[in-house]
Symmetry: C2
Subunit: 261 residues, 2 copies
């Protein structure tokens, strides 16, 4: 994908095209937070960041305010910004919300129909997933790749829903700290296979323009992820040496008490 149609500036700097420092830093920080560069509940100091990123506090503040609006940060008026913490319960809630919204989005996609581009993307995601999941076992890389495939499938349907508000909310519901994508790819193979099969059926129902079925299937699909997540949490609680995502465990478990306020 080449740079868009017209850009006069940005090419000069040689870096990625950023309209302003504020949005550039916003994107940078969002990636960092979602990647887990910051601890949940960690305070973010403006001066600290401004020195590290070599810009003044003004664009830093703008970025922090934006991210607070997205729910990634928490702002307390005279006390600064903190990385939003999510309790186990809140993560489960986020999945419930996402399930209903994804269901609605799939329904709309079915009613509105898919354009050629999204159809291609989805079919490719389905084919590549079929291929990948033939393996007896999945390596960490394989899981990461399937994570991309999964994201591509859902993103295409998000686009197909053709609703700005819906897309914004879906984004927020998926931005629940370091737990979101990293966890989804850490489940048992038969669960992954089952969910990939869900994708097939969802796509089918959308093709047939069956909005009701698409909604039902999609909602249940995401609810299934929620259930798996709960299972994984309870496993983690019983056997604390789980090789999977010690970082995630640290992020969400038993931090409710240490809340800022």
């Amino acid at each position: 994908m080449h740079s868009q149609s017209d850009l006069q500036d940005g090419a000069r700097t040689g870096e990625l095209d950023a309209p302003t420092r504020s949005v550039s830093i916003t994107e940078q920080l969002r990636c960092g937070i979602l990647a887990g560069d910051f601890q949940p509940g960690e305070r973010i100091y403006e001066v600290n960041l401004s020195e590290k990123l070599k810009v003044s506090r003004t664009p830093i503040r703008a970025a922090l305010q934006s991210l607070a609006g997205e729910g990634l940060l928490r702002h307390i008026p005279n006390r600064g910004y903190y990385v939003q913490e999510f309790s186990v319960d809140e993560i489960v809630q986020a999945y419930e919300i996402r399930a209903t919204l994804e269901g609605l989005c799939a329904k709309r996609a079915a009613q509105l129909g898919l354009n050629a581009e999204d159809r291609d993307i989805i079919e490719r995601a389905l084919r590549e997933g079929d291929l990948l999941l033939q393996k007896e076992e999945l390596s960490a890389d394989d899981r990461s790749i399937y994570g991309e495939i999964n994201a591509a499938f859902h993103s295409a349907i998000h686009r197909a829903g053709q609703s700005r508000m819906l897309r914004d909310m879906l984004r927020v519901s998926q931005q629940v700290a370091p737990s979101s994508h990293r966890n989804v790819i850490a489940f048992e193979l038969r669960d992954v296979r089952r969910r990939h099969d869900d994708h097939h059926r969802i796509y089918e129902s959308i093709l047939y323009r069956d909005g009701g079925r698409a909604e039902l299937l999609m909602r249940d699909h995401v609810e299934t992820v929620k259930i798996s997540l709960i299972r994984s949490f309870s496993r983690e609680a019983t056997s604390p040496d789980g090789a999977v995502s010690s970082r995630t465990a640290k992020g969400v478990s038993s931090r409710e008490i240490r809340r800022v306020k």
Copy 2:
């Protein structure tokens, strides 16, 4: 000019306790936008506002960024802030989204149960609504009052859902410019009665802890508002002299072309 030393914040305006100018102005502007003080699509100039509100551009910018995050304003990097426009289709979408979210919220409320306070509020809303809707006809004041009653009912359930993310999203879905509350109270009496009866049944299902029924009823309840809204829009399109909400008509009709872009 050392105006900061001369007067402390709030002393001059005598307003309620505001932690900072930024949040005070944010609330002020939000009210103004929802009240229709600004035209949809209207550009908002920082200097203009800063002169009018007698503060520097800094807190103004902070407020505008916050409101953009809430979806009330639209920000284009070097081109300023604009009051978000909502096409008829987008307003309908917002109601679809709200319907699913309210449904989920009602389900959670049923599962979690109501506390005494919210139960009281809801029962009072039901009683007062019963009383008000016995009238043969509703005056503008009556409709405004029922708007309050309706808001109280839904707010209580929003609280009962006990989910920060859900509440945030419900707020966003209801902030679709001047169209939201003003319209709801402008429908035919029998529709209002029907929807008030919905409230009774929803409350009942929540009391019985029937989450599935609560969700179904609540979702359909809001969908009904959506349908009424669509009806009112098409009436408006055919007979342009509708006494009801000329302001609303101006806000949403045939402005899709004049998008900022």
